[in-house]
Every structure is written in structure tokens, then in C-alpha cells.
């Protein structure tokens, strides 16, 4: 009796305390303009934003765009003296561009500000691979963790790769979930024989960014890299050829029309039950369990990205940062902190988003709702922040890689020759950008 009373008093006191010391008081009534991508994670964010407004009195106006479009828009906005956006979500490979052009706020001064930073934020709980890949800049090679770097953004809506497979099909034919690349590729081509009309694995392959992404996804686990330590392109070495061949095999044994699949089509094929496996980002989990969109609800199991010569799943997705030309930087920081706090992260995970914290992956409520969360957490241990270089000229090399690979897939170009071409052109781009100045 006495104890309950005591705790009730304590609770009241706490509530009163928060009511008096409301860190958001100064910003009540502010309207933040934020730029988010059209992406399942940010769709989930849209659902939790009203909660933020209710709690803090800060209004949020969201400009949601497809992510390549969003990048275009940001290029323009961030170059102005005074920008429209207070908070932006940026694609991981924009990190280099923005930081290099001094367009993102260094977060140090906000973290130092006792009026803004919540002491219970627990930054150590954020997933290391994500933080270094997405939020951190200026370390080793400019984009990796290292002593010279600092933080410019916080990972939000980040993702890693994972293998989804159809439990029912695998059980029916007594197939084992692939652990290695050889097993996976063999299975990918075996499934169309076992299940006529069904593709093995659906992957993106469309010209440009999609094909490049799919290739890089296989490059890291197969032991390859885009550049060696002195920035020489090595996409055309053995590992590179193996990765391109893996992609080709997957597409050839894939579902109808696979050569021109973008991410949406690849996912669509899996949702529609046209393929038995799906190897791509973790963001799709929410949709696979949504009966409005998916015909495979409850039939999908999850496994780690298979191993080639090593384990290496991708890291990517989005981070959120404050543009240097923003109007309401402090309030934007508060929103950023709220979204990535333990509470916000859990809310967004429950709404179907991708959590950025270890604790959320281990959270009982989240796991009860999404049993795959544990596997995803395990996959994160192997997340490889160096699977794709994040340097300012990457966009150009990426585009060339993507179109060339698409030609390999559709026009039967020789793999080695095609990759030699990419490497040669990449070398030219790198030279022009000054990467060989010190050699």
C-alpha cells in the first residue's frame, strides 16, 4: 500500500517535473519542413509524426519524393544561401557530396548543447555499421570509420541485405536454405525446373542504379571490392567477374522479365509468388506481411545473406541530417533526436519501419510483432560498410557500371571485357578527380 502510494507520488513528481522543464517549450508552434523519400520506412515515419507534434507542439510538414528525385531536389536546395528544408533524409551515397560541399551541419555543436541533447539518448545503442556507413564522414578513405572523422547525420531507415525464401516451396521439395553462394546459385536455377513458371531468385537488374546495386551486393561476399587501397579500380578482377556472372545466372534463372526489373518489380514478383527467393534489403519485411499487397503472407522465411569467400551484407538506406542553410536547426535537431531515440525507434519499428538501434532489434514487443527482427539483428553483425565506396565521383562510376552491366545481361556482352571497360573509364574519372595526386 505504502509502496504504491510512494511510486504514485514519485510518478506525479516526475510528470510535474517534465511539465515544468519542457525542453521543447521554446520551439512550440514552429513548423519544420522536412524532405523524406517515398520509402516503406518513411511511410512508417509518417504514421508516428503526429505523435511527435502532440508531444512537443512542433509541427512537421513533409515533402516526400522518390529517392532519386529527392536527391536532385536536395542538390538544388542545399546549394542556395537559404534553404527550404530544416531536416533532410539523404541517400547514403549523397553523404560524400553533401559533406564535401559543406552542406550538412556537423552534429558536434548540437550534441554539446545541454539544452538540446537528451542525456538519456544513449548513442552507443545505435548500430555501429550504420553509423559509420551513413552518418560518419572524414575517417579512413574519407567515408569509413576512423580517427579523423565526425558525425554529420544519424542513420534512419537504414537497411542491410537478407535472403527471403518461400518456406512452403522449400519444404515441398525438401530443399535446404542456402548458406553459400554456390548453393544459392544452384538453387536459383533448380527451382524453375522443380516449379515450372516460377523463377529462382528475384533481383533488381534494370539499367543504371539497379543493376549496379545488384552487382555490388554480390561483389562483397565474393571477396571483391570496387577499388584497392590506393584507389585503383579492381571491379574487373576475378571476384568482379564472379559477381557479374552470379548476377547473370540469377537473372537468367529469374522470373519473367527479370532483365528489366527495378526494385519495385523485383519485390512485386516475390510478393506475387513468382519467385522462391529474394535477396535484397530488409525494408521489405513489412510489405511481405501485408495481405493487401502480398500473396505470400506467412510463407516467407528469412536467412542471412549467403557467404561467398566471406560474409558481407550491404549497408545502405538513409540517414537524416540538418542542412547548413536550414532555418530552424535547433528544432530540427530535436526532431532528429526524437525520431532516433529509443522510444521513437521502437514506435517506428512497430509501425513497420527499420530500427536503427540494437535495443530495438532485441525488444520483446517488436519481436512479438515481427519475428524476423532477430534474424535481421544477426545479419547486422556482418554488415559491411565498405561494400560500396562513398566518394563524390561515385555517382558517375555507378551510372556507368549500371548501364554496362545491363548490357551484359541483355546483349550478352563478354563479362570480363565489359568490366575491363568499366575499370578503365573509372580510372579516368578517378584520375580527373585527383585521386592519384599522391602516387
Amino acid at each position: 500500500m505504502f509502496r504504491t502510494l510512494k511510486s504514485a507520488v514519485l510518478a506525479t513528481a516526475l510528470m510535474a517535473g517534465t511539465a515544468i522543464a519542457n525542453p521543447y517549450a521554446d520551439f512550440e508552434g514552429t513548423t519544420l519542413v522536412v524532405n523524406f523519400p517515398a520509402h516503406p520506412h518513411y511511410d512508417a515515419v509518417m504514421k508516428i509524426l503526429p505523435e511527435f507534434t502532440k508531444e512537443t507542439g512542433i509541427e512537421v510538414e513533409v515533402d516526400q519524393l522518390p529517392y532519386l528525385k529527392m536527391r536532385e531536389r536536395q542538390t538544388l536546395e542545399l546549394a542556395q544561401d537559404e534553404g527550404e528544408y530544416d531536416l533532410i533524409a539523404y541517400v547514403v551515397f549523397s553523404k560524400a557530396d553533401y559533406v564535401y560541399a559543406d552542406q550538412l551541419e556537423n552534429l558536434a555543436k548540437y550534441v554539446m548543447n545541454p539544452k538540446l541533447t537528451d542525456p538519456n539518448y544513449d548513442a552507443d545503442d545505435l548500430i555501429d555499421g550504420y553509423v559509420y556507413n551513413i552518418g560518419f564522414a572524414g575517417g579512413n578513405k574519407g567515408y569509413l570509420a576512423g580517427k579523423t572523422g565526425s558525425l554529420f547525420g544519424i542513420p534512419y531507415g537504414s537497411e542491410t541485405s537478407i535472403l527471403g525464401y518461400r518456406k512452403d516451396i522449400f519444404e515441398k521439395h525438401g530443399l535446404a536454405v542456402p548458406e553459400t553462394y554456390d548453393e544459392m546459385l544452384a538453387l536459383a536455377c533448380k527451382i524453375p525446373e522443380l516449379e515450372p513458371g516460377m523463377g529462382g531468385l528475384s533481383s533488381r537488374a534494370a539499367s543504371g542504379h539497379h543493376a549496379a546495386h545488384a552487382f555490388l551486393l554480390h561483389l562483397a561476399p565474393l571477396g571483391g571490392r570496387v577499388f584497392d587501397d590506393s584507389w585503383n579500380p579492381i571491379v574487373n578482377n576475378e571476384a568482379g567477374v564472379a559477381a557479374a556472372n552470379a548476377l547473370k545466372t540469377i537473372v537468367d534463372c529469374g522470373p519473367e522479365g527479370a532483365k528489366n526489373f527495378g526494385f519495385g518489380e523485383a519485390l512485386g514478383a516475390f510478393l506475387n509468388g513468382d519467385t522462391a527467393m529474394f535477396l535484397d534489403t530488409t525494408v521489405v519485411a513489412g510489405q511481405i506481411d501485408n495481405p493487401d499487397k502480398s500473396k505470400v503472407v506467412g510463407k516467407v522465411g528469412w536467412a542471412l545473406h549467403p557467404m561467398g569467400t566471406r560474409r558481407g551484407s550491404q549497408t545502405g538506406g538513409f540517414g537524416i541530417g540538418i542542412p547548413s542553410n536550414a532555418e530552424n536547426k535547433d528544432a530540427a535537431y530535436l526532431l532528429m533526436q526524437w525520431l532516433t531515440s529509443k522510444k521513437g525507434d521502437k514506435l517506428v519499428a512497430l509501425a513497420g519501419g527499420n530500427p536503427s538501434r540494437f535495443s530495438t532489434h532485441a525488444d520483446a514487443d517488436v519481436n512479438a510483432k515481427f519475428p524476423h527482427m532477430a534474424t535481421f539483428g544477426e545479419a547486422l553483425q556482418y554488415a559491411d560498410p565498405d561494400w560500396r565506396p562513398i566518394i563524390p565521383v561515385w555517382g558517375k562510376i555507378n551510372a556507368d557500371l549500371g548501364t554496362t552491366l545491363s548490357k551484359v545481361l541483355t546483349e550478352d556482352l563478354d563479362v570480363k571485357e565489359a568490366l575491363d571497360g568499366v575499370a578503365e573509364r573509372a580510372k579516368g574519372v578517378m584520375d580527373e578527380a585527383g585521386y592519384y595526386t599522391w602516387q
Binding site: V33, A38, H39, P40, D43, M46, K47, L49, D63, Q64, L65, P66, K69, R73, L76, Q80, D81, E82, G83, E84, G262, F263, G264, E265, L267, G268, N272, V283, Q287, D292, K293, K295, E327
Partner: protein, 311 residues
Amino acid sequence: MAQSTTKNNSAFFAVIALMVFMAIGPVLLMLVNSFKLDVDIISGTSGLLFLPTIQNYETALCDVLWYEPEHLDFCSVKFGGAFVNSLIIALVSTTLTLVIGSMAAYALVRFRFMGRDTVSMTTLMVRMVPPAVLLVPVFGLWNNEFCLDKEGFLGGMIREAFGGRGDVCLAGTHSGIILIYVAMNLPFVIWILQSFIVQVPRSLEEAARVDGAGPFGVFFRIVLPLIKPGLAAAAIFTFRIAWNEYLLASALSDRNTKTVPILIVNNMSEFNVEWGVIMATGMLLAIPPIIFTLFASRQIITGMTAGAVKG
């Protein structure tokens, strides 16, 4: 003989039926699909057996509906706002193009003056410029050069009145998009209206002038009413381009000035193609042109033939 005519006739009608089917089939398909749920579209074993739903239209129009549709967690499409933008941009640019274009066409037909040949030649030449070619310069100019300093008098007033941040630039405003549409459509309108103005009898204009009308009076009170069919044709073609254009609008608009084509392309998002909603927005975008076609097909055809025959 009689038999061969009937055979001919039935073949003739078969060809016509096929053409009609091909011309409107895809549009009907879109219409039907816009009333289906995504699950029905994707599984869609049969084309016509389904439960029609207006859910897609509710999703598309969520920002202008007076109630909150139950199936939505939040409103993402915001078709209403884009529709208003499209309407403002298309209507204003069409009106301006017609007024300015008909004046220029009148001058080119009725007066001899210095520079006439240069103007008429330039007008003809710039007709061929594709929007894609204008993309780079317009993007650069509208964002960086055609700006008013926010500290300046006019710029300051605009910022005061409309809010927003930074220098006042053409990019991101309705006026910016309207300006480029007017410029793009002018050559065509001038060209097509010339052939109508030539047919206006001079005697009418002279009579009006004797009655004491100035050149503008003659033009607005005598000439314009007489070339109404030409104006209608030109209006439809101008409206069509301003209403349907995507590329330049997407480079110049910001979050508040998006037009409907941009919205549609944006919603073909790669993560999740929501066919039903996209078909519904596509249908809504197509409605004004369809209405025009139904009610003004004669003017459209007049415009087309006048355009081609004059060369």
C-alpha cells in the same frame, strides 16, 4: 456485285471496329483498373468480375476529401493540391499565350514593318526546339539568374507577402512555369493563327477604322471575334501541352507547385507500384483532355489541318 459490296462493307466495318477498339481500349482498361484493388489487378484472373471500389480515388484525393478514408494511415498522394496547380498553370498560360500570340500573328499578317521577316523566321525556327533542350538553360536561369534579391525592394515585398526563404527566384513559382510554357507555345500559336487572320476580310477592319476605332480596337472588337474557331483550336493545343508537360515542370516546381504529371511519375515509386492509385490519378489527369476531345473535336481537327497544310 451486290454480294461483293456487302462483303466489302463488312470488312470495312470490321476495320473501323478494330480501330475504335485499339484507340479507346487502353483508356477503358485504365478506367476499369482504377476501380480495382491492387490485389485484384495483380491476381486479376478475369477482367470484368470484380467488386468496384472508389478506394483508389479516395487515396488519390485524400487532401481534398471532407472525411478521412478508413484505409489510409496518412495522406501521401495529395492530388488535390497538384490539380489546382495544374489548373492555374494551364489556364493562365493558355490565356496569356492566346492574347499575346494572336496580337503577334495579327501584326505579322497585317503590317509591314522593320524586322518582320526576322521575327517570322525566328518564330518558325524555335518551333522545333524540344523541351529537353530547354531543360539545362531554364534550370540554370530560373534558379540562379532570374532572381530578385531578398534585400531589394521588390524581392523584400514578395518575401514579406508570401513568406519563404532565400532570394526570390522564378524557379518554384507558378509564374516561372507559366513563363516557359507561354514561350514554348507562342511560336505554334502565332503560326497557326496567321492562317486564320489572313482570311478575315480587310474591308471589315477598314470599316471599323473609318468609324474611328484605333488599331487595338479593330483588333479586339473586329478581328478576334472573327477568328474564334482558330482561337479555340489554338487554345486546346496550348492547354494540352501545358496540362500534360512533365519534364520542365519537374525541374522548376517545388513542393508547393507540383503539377499532376509530376505527381504521377513520383508515385511510380520503385518500392511499390500501386497500380490502382496510379491508374486513378492518371484517369483524373486525363479527364479534362477527354472532355475537350468530346466537345471540341471539330476545332482540334481544324487546328491540326490548318497547322499541317500551311506548312
